[in-house]
């Protein structure tokens, strides 16, 4: 392998690999694992159940090394493996007609779905949650949430062109809301504005049920030419595995697995901080760098690094490829030289990407990353072994079938239970409430409505978002949906709306999910666009609670049935479980994003009055 760190990097000099904490001999190698089968391992602290740990031992035919344990634990977490939701999410792929999928270039399962919008253009979009980190550290949590979803979009080969945010907070007059709301809003504002992505819409909702568990769902949109489509797979033995972007540090180690799979109080496996700090400048440079790499046809496969970092990127790229992968972990550029191999495998440092590059194109690749001052390191190459092999300090510390890590994780068909409280809640209907008919009472009611946080003007939030940048925003605040011009010559455009109503879903998750879909669909249609695709972010309590699991199953079924009825496919999305305070789950909150297309944005329909004298009509029932 030729020289690795090619970029003439301004910041700190490369850390000599040998200065790490682990002294020689303490590396838990594969050979060591085979020789010490009885060593106790902290699988439970890493979030693995005893049965899961046992099946790892069976898969490997020995105990896992500590590095392998790190990888399996993060990749088999609820957050990364979808182990409780998979059996239900399948419906999105099954309840489809050929008509629905004919414009889908990439469907569920990839980083983000890709829709052919005509004229050689394609659009990719996805909505994702960053709920728990945004409660702990609202500014950085929300900021890195935007960063993560935008990297998903870049990794499809697209230029990110817009973001949206769907937010749910606790009671507006709770003291902690005053900490969370400004932090979240300025985090989103900071990161997306610094990336130069217009914010074209979103939602803001206040309800005490979200007090200690706000929902921060961010959506990103990307645009690409058909031929620029890229996928996360590592093909072609001998091709180089390249890590580029920010250096790897101790951020958020255990963050994803611990945060997303259990309550906050269960501290992380290490003393490392559970939060990540985002650097939107680094991400902006990474975007431009990636687009130049795509334009030069210099990458064969690409994957962003999000939760589970290098564990996820290597195992997913290798699983989706046609062979195996061999990595020297010592080649990862570190910000903190004291990191252990396990921590490097789990680190959630932001603003990193992994690419598969043909050897003949490596120099050209390094020239582009050098131009953008993006630090780059060749970690290893694609092999024919079918194994993911990782070495550290000269010893093999990971030797696994990558599919067992990334694809064939545990799948649970968890028990469901009709909620014991639901009938009582449903019986308590609004029709029982007194209906004021007197002037003063009506007046008081109207004033209360107007004064409610949920109906109030949202410009305090939207004024902190740049809606102009890129010059293609055809609709945004205060319109029902956002709209972006895709092609400056033809006027071809796309529109988006996100909607959800946790209270409806609480009363009836099946219908609630459909109402969210219908509202987003209407909002898109109201802009003049034709709805064509769906992404969703399913925010629920613990899947280990059968009543929550019932809510989840109902919501998915409702959404899948609704999509089939409306004839638009779900192209991807995100599940966020464990949204609860103590034992009290949030209201089931399936946030639905609908995308539409319009052949010329000049024909868009804004939500405000346009001209004096126009007639007013009320449509529908």
């Amino acid at each position: 392998m030729s020289d690795t760190t090619a970029t003439p990097v301004p910041a700190a000099p490369a850390v000599p690999a040998a200065s790490g904490a682990a002294a020689p001999g303490t590396v838990d190698s594969v050979a060591n694992a085979a020789a010490t089968p009885e060593r106790e391992q902290p699988y439970a602290a890493l979030g693995l159940k005893t049965e899961e740990y046992q099946s790892i031992r069976e898969l490997l035919g020995r105990r896992p090394t500590s590095g392998e344990l790190a990888m399996y634990s993060v990749m088999w977490s609820e957050h990364c493996s979808y182990k409780s939701s998979k059996v239900w999410l399948r419906q999105f792929g099954q309840k489809v007609s050929p008509e629905m999928t004919k414009n889908l270039m990439v469907g569920m399962g990839e980083n983000a779905g890709v829709v052919d919008v005509g004229e050689g253009w394609a659009v990719t979009f996805k909505i994702e949650s960053h709920n728990h980190p945004s409660y702990i550290e609202p500014f950085q949590g929300a900021a890195t949430g935007v960063g993560g979803i935008v990297r998903d979009i870049i990794s499809m080969g697209a230029r990110p062109v817009a973001v949206m945010d769907a937010l749910r907070f606790g009671a507006i007059d709770d003291r902690d809301t005053a900490r969370v709301v400004p932090g979240v809003v300025s985090g989103i504002s900071f990161y997306a504005n610094c990336l130069g992505l217009p914010n074209i819409g979103g939602e803001t909702w206040f309800d005490p049920i979200y007090q200690a568990n706000p929902l921060v769902n961010a959506l990103a949109v990307g645009v690409l030419r058909h031929e620029d489509l890229h996928l996360a797979n590592a093909r072609g033995a001998g091709n180089k595995v390249v890590l580029f972007g920010a250096r790897t540090g101790g951020d958020g180690i255990g963050g994803a697995s611990i945060l997303a799979s259990d309550t906050f109080s269960a501290g992380g496996p290490t003393k490392r901080p559970a939060v990540q700090v985002g650097d939107p400048f680094a991400e902006k440079v990474l975007i431009e760098c990636c687009l130049e790499l795509f334009a030069g046809d210099l990458v064969q496969g690409i994957q962003d690094l999000g939760a589970a970092g290098i564990s996820c990127a290597t195992s997913e790229l290798a699983s989706n490829g046609d062979g195996g992968m061999a990595i020297e972990l010592d080649r990862v550029l570190l910000r903190d030289p004291s990191l252990t191999a396990e921590e490097i495998l789990m680190s959630e440092s932001q603003e990193r990407m992994m690419a598969i590059v043909e050897p003949g194109k490596l120099d050209a690749f390094l020239a582009v990353t050098g131009k953008w001052d993006v630090e780059t390191s060749v970690l290893g190459e694609v092999t024919e072994t079918g194994r993911l092999a990782i070495t550290w300090r000269g010893e093999t510390i990971v030797d696994v079938d990558p599919r067992t890590v990334a694809v064939d994780g545990p799948v649970y068909d968890r028990p469901l239970a009709y909620p014991s409280w639901l009938n009582a809640v449903r019986a308590n209907s609004a029709s029982e409430l007194p209906r004021p008919s007197e002037g003063p009472a009506l007046r008081a009611q109207l004033l209360e409505l107007i004064g409610s946080a949920n109906l109030a003007d949202k410009s305090w939030i939207t004024d902190q978002y740049d809606r102009y940048v890129l010059g293609n925003t055809a609709l945004s605040y205060p319109d029902d949906g956002g709209m972006i011009r895709v092609d400056e010559t033809s006027g071809l455009g796309v529109a988006f709306a996100t909607d959800a109503n946790g209270r409806y879903a609480y009363l009836d998750p099946y219908v609630g999910a459909q109402l969210a879909l219908a509202e987003a669909y209407r909002n898109v249609a109201a802009t003049g666009a034709t709805p064509v695709a769906v992404s969703d972010c399913l925010n629920f309590g613990s899947p280990e609670n059968p009543e929550v699991m019932w809510q989840f199953s109902q919501a998915v079924e409702g959404l899948a049935d609704g999509c089939l009825e409306l004839g638009i496919p779900v192209t991807g999305g995100n599940v966020s479980f464990y949204n609860q305070t103590g034992d009290v789950p949030i209201h089931p909150t399936p946030v639905v994003a609908v995308m539409g297309t319009i052949d010329d944005v000049a024909r868009r329909v804004p939500s405000g009055w346009q001209d004096p004298g126009d007639n007013l009509y009320l449509l529908g029932t």
Partner: protein
């Protein structure tokens, strides 16, 4: 006429500035921060964005990038230079314009359709306006508060170096409602609002006539084009 638009790492509105130049009838030339080459352009735009992440101070690191040596020399020789938002911050950090730009007084990023009054219509970038004209240009920044010591402020006002003033709302606490400045020669202009985002009907600020229809920003670019024609 060839108008260069410099891209720094973190520039965001660079392609928008190029589009505005083209809409005005000029030829847009992309310039790169790391080069020492102005490619024979006749005027330069330093676009908006967050060059180098706005870290340290907005515009501070960009003002020290390779191409700025050339830009500063050209500006001192009379070439028209327009700094928009981050570009204004870069001009201030490069000491081509006086004062400093700090965090908005309310602490937040703000995006709004901002009304301005044209105070100086004899610069390279404002000669298509008339003094006192009211225009609407999108404003979007977190660090747009203009500050300067009292003595310099007096000089700026006395010499007519205020190019634009905020009307109705002072969105960031700028002294004397200052939204933009010119140098004494009138070739270097900087302002916080974004004229390039008011150049295309349908994608600009709202006007009383129709939503998103404002194109007041186009005059910045036609001004420099006409000025060049007049000199030719």
């Amino acid at each position: 006429m060839r108008i260069g638009v410099v891209t720094f790492p973190g520039s965001l509105d660079d392609r928008d500035a190029q589009r505005a130049v083209r809409r005005a009838g000029g030829e847009a030339v992309a310039l790169w921060h790391g080069d020492h080459e102005l490619q024979g352009v006749d005027a330069i735009v330093l676009p908006g964005g967050f060059s180098y992440g706005d870290y340290l101070r907005c515009g501070a690191i960009a003002a020290r990038s390779p191409i700025m040596a050339e830009v500063i020399a050209a500006a001192n020789a009379g070439m028209p230079v327009l700094g928009i938002c981050n570009g204004f911050q870069i001009l201030v950090e490069a000491h081509l314009l006086p004062g400093g730009l700090i965090r908005n007084d309310h602490g937040d990023f703000v995006c709004r359709d901002q009304k301005l009054r044209v105070e100086n219509a004899s610069t390279a970038w404002t000669n298509g306006f008339t003094v006192g004209q009211e225009i609407t240009i999108p404003l979007k920044n977190a660090e747009g508060g203009f500050i300067v010591d009292a003595e310099t402020l007096k000089r700026i006002e006395g010499e007519g170096l205020v190019a634009f003033r905020y009307l109705d709302v002072n969105p960031n606490g700028s002294l004397d409602d200052i939204a933009g400045l010119t140098n004494a020669r009138g070739n270097v202009v900087g302002l916080m609002p974004h004229p390039e985002h008011a150049t295309e009907p349908g994608f600009g600020p709202d006007t009383p006539d129709a939503m998103r229809s404002g194109v007041d920003g186009l005059t910045f670019f036609t001004s420099v084009l006409h000025g060049a024609l007049a000199r030719a």
